[in-house]
């Protein structure tokens, strides 16, 4: 093995080589920001919702959607 071929070089080459393989086998999902956001929304009553635990007026959500 040449002195210039280090362990890091081998590992980097391996990682780079595996990227296209991963890309070919795994379906890439683009995050749907609206869906993720709504998953964390819990209606409390007509006036309030909880977003990720934060209790805020439901009107805030309406403004955001608009």
């Amino acid at each position: 093995m040449s002195e210039t071929v280090t362990r890091r070089t081998i590992l980097t080459a391996f990682c780079l080589a595996s990227l296209p393989i991963q890309g070919a086998t795994k379906e890439i999902k683009l995050p749907n920001r609206n869906t993720e956001f709504l998953d964390n929304v819990l209606p409390i009553d007509n006036e309030f919702i909880a977003v990720d635990g934060w209790v805020i007026p439901a009107s805030n959500l309406v403004k955001r959607v608009k």
Binding site: L42, I44, E47, F48, A50, D52, G53, W54, V55, I56, P57
Partner: protein
Amino acid sequence: MLYDFNLLTNIDKKYDICIVGSGPAGITLALNLANSGKTVLLLEGGGLEYSSDSQSLYECESTGHEAWPKHTRLRYFGGTSNHWSGRCRPFEASDFSQRQLNSLPGWPISYSEIAPFLPGAMEILDLDVSRGFQAINGDLPGNHFDPDAFAKSPPTRFKSKYIDQITESKNIDCFYNATALDIRLDNTHQIVNHIEIANQRSQTISAKAGTFILCLGGIETPRFLLNCNKQISAGIGNTSNMVGRCFMEHLNVPMGSFLYEDPKEFSKLQFFTNDRFCESSNIGKSNVTMSIVNSVKSYGRTKAIKTFFKSLACQMQIEDKVQFISDFNCPGMGTIGTLIEQAPNLKSRITLSEKKDIYGLKKANLDWQISEYDRRTIRQIGLSMAKDFSKSGLGKIRLADFMLDTNLDIKYGHHAHHMGTTRMAEDANYGVVDRNLKVHDLGNLYIAGSSVFSTGGACNPTMPIIQLCLRLTDHLTRL
């Protein structure tokens, strides 16, 4: 006079009153009954100072939620007043309304029966009677909470404040290192004849009196009664199997955190549920305290090291990742604490363990449980506070996941307030003592302390304990 019971071999006198336990209840009763002319024998199981040997007698088994019974009480002269925080808020008239909780009746007495003793209790606790109870902040919109009005005792340490008065009193003989072992009844099993007490050399002596009062706190009082089973196998005062049942605490629930619009406006806010909200929602009462954290705090022997690592975690903003090791808050965070009323619940109880202490008495087993009523109280209070806080414009609250998801277990802690285990009830089927704090079916045995609370409200128990002791003094001096 004050005596070390280790140096005595006999008590040849019969007293008017024998009081077991020298905490706030025992000392208040001893001094006031002595001032009214009664001869008083005051017994303290511990010494005049803290000792780990004495404290170890407070070790319990725990099969329910952990309430740390060994560390929340103190077994020496002055009792738990040697480390209480001093916060005082009186019971309200609504605490004595005839409401049923978990099918159990509430207080059989009205507020007007303890209210006259409030000024006296405030003086004992070094509170300014003319100042009364004051709130530190304004109102919230929403009509669920009022500003919490309270007062702070210095806090009064009963040992340092009253030991000279007890020593100099001609009517009081106080024996420390005197552990009560057994209550002995007469042949009818309706009158207490004497109490057997032991010193640290295991010498046993009989203490005789006309009237006996147990002031041992919410865990030791039922434990002692259940251990007194030589003449009645179920224990003294336990005809209805109520001794030890209905153990209540005040629930300290880490409801979540909050962000504030303007930190200059406050560092702490304290609110208290109003009666209309509790009645319409059928929930218990609560104090809700919102504090802005100023510095990382830690406790214990490695305090400096723990504080350093917690501060480092805050600076690196990785507190979320390391909080599973130790729960802590970073400076600038707004935290929410509560002191929530727990409803009496037959399943939450103290029984006897099979393990025994050095005196041969069985240790207590504490099975602290909360009920569905308590869970509803916790979640309803959290949601209402979050909404009202948002409406106020002061900021917004982030509730913990268990507050919003009823499938999750609620996290809760304690306030070292042990109540309800010899509760007051008119009907002996629902309690241990009657409206005058006398044990049902026994002619001369009384109980004082938070164990007699029928319901716990959401106020710190020391001041109501003192009020009830002054009322008991009044009752006994009229007999």
